[in-house]
Symmetry: C2
Subunit: 185 residues, 2 copies
């Protein structure tokens, strides 16, 4: 528990003037995959490919959200959850649904609240509890983004037929269930 503690603040980023600073994908992204050893377990190969693919999609969505709407993926994701639950969601619920820690949700909610896109409401039955809702402004902003976002995803997944998507979805569902079962410690 010590090795991770002796570190300061070594962030950073790359590239020249008004050009780079991005982890360029495209023809370069081929290497997480290869040479795991020809006979290596399929589990490992599948895992690396899932990671690569997910990263590619995420990077592209993040880039577009920034360029088109000047926002970020986690903000969009939080708002997306709220949009589906007009009655509001507890911080705990948001944390669970977004699969991030409560502290993280606090931070993002703080920002969105400051920008007037969401509001915190107190629960009369439980004064510890907080109900987060989209404000009208937040809903308006989200609705515009959501349309574009869905189109982007459909476009990015256009490389697979409906049937392929459906089968993959089904397999990943099985995998997800296995994970939930076996990680239920």
């Amino acid at each position: 528990m010590t090795k991770l503690s002796n570190l300061k603040k070594t962030t950073t980023a790359d590239a020249k003037p008004p050009r780079k600073g991005v982890a360029k994908p495209a023809e370069n992204v081929v290497d997480l995959e290869m040479s795991t050893g020809a006979d290596s377990h399929m589990g490992l190969r599948l895992w690396l490919r899932m990671l690569t693919t997910t990263n590619l999609v995420q990077a592209e969505l993040r880039k577009r959200l920034r360029n088109e709407f000047d926002t970020t993926l986690p903000r969009f994701d939080l708002m997306a959850q709220l949009e589906r639950h007009p009655e509001g969601l507890k911080m705990t619920e948001l944390s669970r649904r977004l699969m991030v820690t409560g502290g993280n949700v606090t931070g993002i909610t703080d920002q969105l609240e400051k920008e007037g896109l969401v509001s915190r409401g107190t629960d009369p039955n439980d004064r510890r509890s907080i109900s987060v809702c989209l404000t009208p402004a937040g809903r308006k902003a989200f609705d515009k983004m959501a349309i574009a976002h869905e189109q982007w995803v459909v476009e990015l997944f256009g490389g697979l037929s409906l049937d392929e998507k459906s089968r993959t979805h089904q397999r990943l569902g099985k995998l997800k269930q296995h994970l939930l079962d076996s990680l239920k410690d």
Copy 2:
């Protein structure tokens, strides 16, 4: 370009004393998935499921790396790349392979170097360039972790048969190719 700028440092985290602070998975993680709208496009459903599944695996691997070896996923990933390339890799190469920005690689390399696990070497032919290698200590540390890591992945993906893994791998390969082609701007 302003909405993202008026923010301070609002991090955080949750939970009580020596217990939580974690985005608990298990029986909770069911919600990114549902209610995207019954008729919603398969692309979106598949995307959300990929995200959920990848997050579950990543969280578990991160937890185990921390508990068993007191290290983190990005450190492990960087070392894994070096292990496959004993001759050393340039910072640029690492950035490309890990699909993160150069600045990020600088930070992680700084830490690993400080811990004596990797070393930076200068290139006589190009004084801008740096060749990062595992040190003997780094290789030793990595080899021990790699065995456990692979077993973990095999275990986590044990929910799918070899054939299912193989088919999913193949589909994701197709998707990956589509992404690389269509994002090649």
